[in-house]
Amino acid sequence: MRSDFRRFKDIMAGHKTFQGLPVSPGIAVANAVVLERELRKVNRQQIREGTGELEVERLRQAIQKTRRDLENHRSKAMASFGEIVAKIFDAHLLILDDEPTFDQIEEGILTENIKAEYALFRELDHVARNLSAQQVDIFRDRAQDVRDVCRRILNHLDGSPTDSMVGVDKYSILVAAELNPSDILHLDPELIIGVVTDAGGATSHTAILTRILGVPSVVGLRNFSKQVKAGDLLVVNGNSGKIIQNPTAKQFEKYTKKQSQYRSYMRSLSDIHQLEAQTTDGHSVTIAANIELPDEAHRVIENGGDGVGLFRTEYLFLAKGGLPDEEEQYREYIKVAEILNPKPVIIRTFDMGGDKAFPGIDFPHESNPFMGWRAIRVGLEKPEMLRTQFRAILRASIHKNVSIMFPMISDLNELQLAKEIFHEVQADFKQEGIAFDDKMKVGIMVEVPSVAVMAHQFAKYVDFFSIGTNDLVQFTLAVDRGNEQIAHLYKPWHPAILHLIKHTVDAANSEGIHVGVCGEFAGNPLATLLLIGLGVQELSSSPSRIPQVKKIIRSASFEECENLAHKVMDFDTSSDVYDFLLRYMKKRFADMPIWFGNNS
């Protein structure tokens, strides 16, 4: 009765919760700023006869200012994120260079005596609508660029601040239907303490960039931005993906406390960076990071990581809009190798396919793309593409800190074919006299259950295993991780997963090869002691997770980890495993505000 009453009151106050995809960890409580992403309609307005020349001059100046802005963004992006992100602005600059289009706009002003704003809007809105209506996404996605350019010029025309973040003068949470990389580049992490978008997945620009900036972020909230008003109080939980709109006084208090605890806890971890990830009884573990952009390598060092356990290379495709050539790939790989040197870097060959379109490769329509033509399967059918990548990786190995890893291996034959091509390229290098590390380690992702089951066999042919839990869970439990209807069945805590991990680790240990876990599971504090106890030698997740994982490892003994793992391996269901670990870890680390989460 009482709780019913309270719920009623909450609804009256507009209290609502939403569930999205957490992509950058942390807690934020603040008022919302809602970013308008739609292009405001401009109405036809006439100007006085004979003032057309002045109007054209006004437009030209606004275009000139816009060009300067974009060039500034480009160099800012270059400095903080590197060439790949910087290139995103080239598309905008290309549009500004479109002489025939701007000539036509100027002609409209002169012959029809209309305001520059209207002439510009009329033309570019027409183009944007036309592009939006296209079937193929590479054309459709460009509509956003056209609107962005149009909005920028319009803002300069009426003198309003053109960069969205100007005007935010207190802690705020940024809400938008979707964000352009330029929006995120402008976000001041001191003031924008959370980011929430309707669109986007774990590999969207928003996800990648907010993780790099260390701003809590939740994406994939459908039409959330339409339901939020500027000034609404929001709680953003970047650990669980939960958003609370207009929280109750009690919730507000609870999350504000969590927010400040989390912040001071993160600050307190800064002294752990230089310390080794070692248990109290001297068992050392490698704590590495997964990265997507070369410049994230700096974050790995700043957070005290021991290396890069997974350098995803797909971003090169997406940013370039096509297949990157050897030189382009080499530049990115060597950059990471040099930033990390002498710490190790594992470069994973392209894992294209799945739910993402890759410009430059013709993907057939598939009804089950995650189990379809992707990753090494594409590579083996396009050996030239694989060779080019091998060459770039080999060239980047001169500091002897680079390893190579193949994704989505499901059969020994695929591994052998991939290795054969790799050896051919190495032989070419010898013949051509190109320097490379001839002792480079070759490993595979263990993410298809067949490989985990046959790990003892695979271990004879590789130098290391990296267990990719995201796909291993999806394939073992037959649960599509993008399908919301069955999201509750996606359980990394399932005993079957733990047994496959243990089986893989045991096989690796008996062959004397290195074994790590990459994927979100490796960064989940609830799993840290368990994975170490199972004998995993390396944990690799987001750079921002490193200090916390290290802290947990440095607080426990290896004996404790082994006992814990031993106990957990006897459980029958995922909820037994999860409930036990949650209770154990919460009690064990009661003095630290570690977020143990409520959904894996």
């Binding site: 290309l94 479109d98 193929v136 410009p359 013709d362």
Partner: protein, 89 residues
């Protein structure tokens, strides 16, 4: 005015980069005009937005119309780009 019909053979068709290569090439020839025709749509070959709006994918047949003092040279260069898949594959 001269013209030629050409079929796009590269996988992604006239998306941003190939489109910008045609535009850059066409822009070098001052005083010569280029039109790309697809069905009933005619766009200015010196406008990146125009070319993109054709949304011409692989296998699309385009008519290229060139008019001006160096029309033959320019048409030849455009044909070479398209027939060589924009040197990207």
């Amino acid at each position: 005015m001269i013209s030629r019909k050409l079929t796009l053979q590269n996988k992604l068709g006239l998306h941003a980069r190939p489109a910008s290569r045609i535009v850059k090439l066409a822009t070098r020839y001052k005083g010569t005009t280029v039109e790309l025709v697809r069905g009933g749509d005619i766009v200015n070959g010196k406008s990146i937005l125009g070319v993109m709006m054709l949304a011409a994918g692989m296998g699309t047949e385009l008519e290229i119309r060139v008019d001006g003092p160096q029309e033959a040279d320019l048409l030849e260069e455009i044909a070479e780009l398209i027939n060589n898949k924009f040197y990207e594959e």
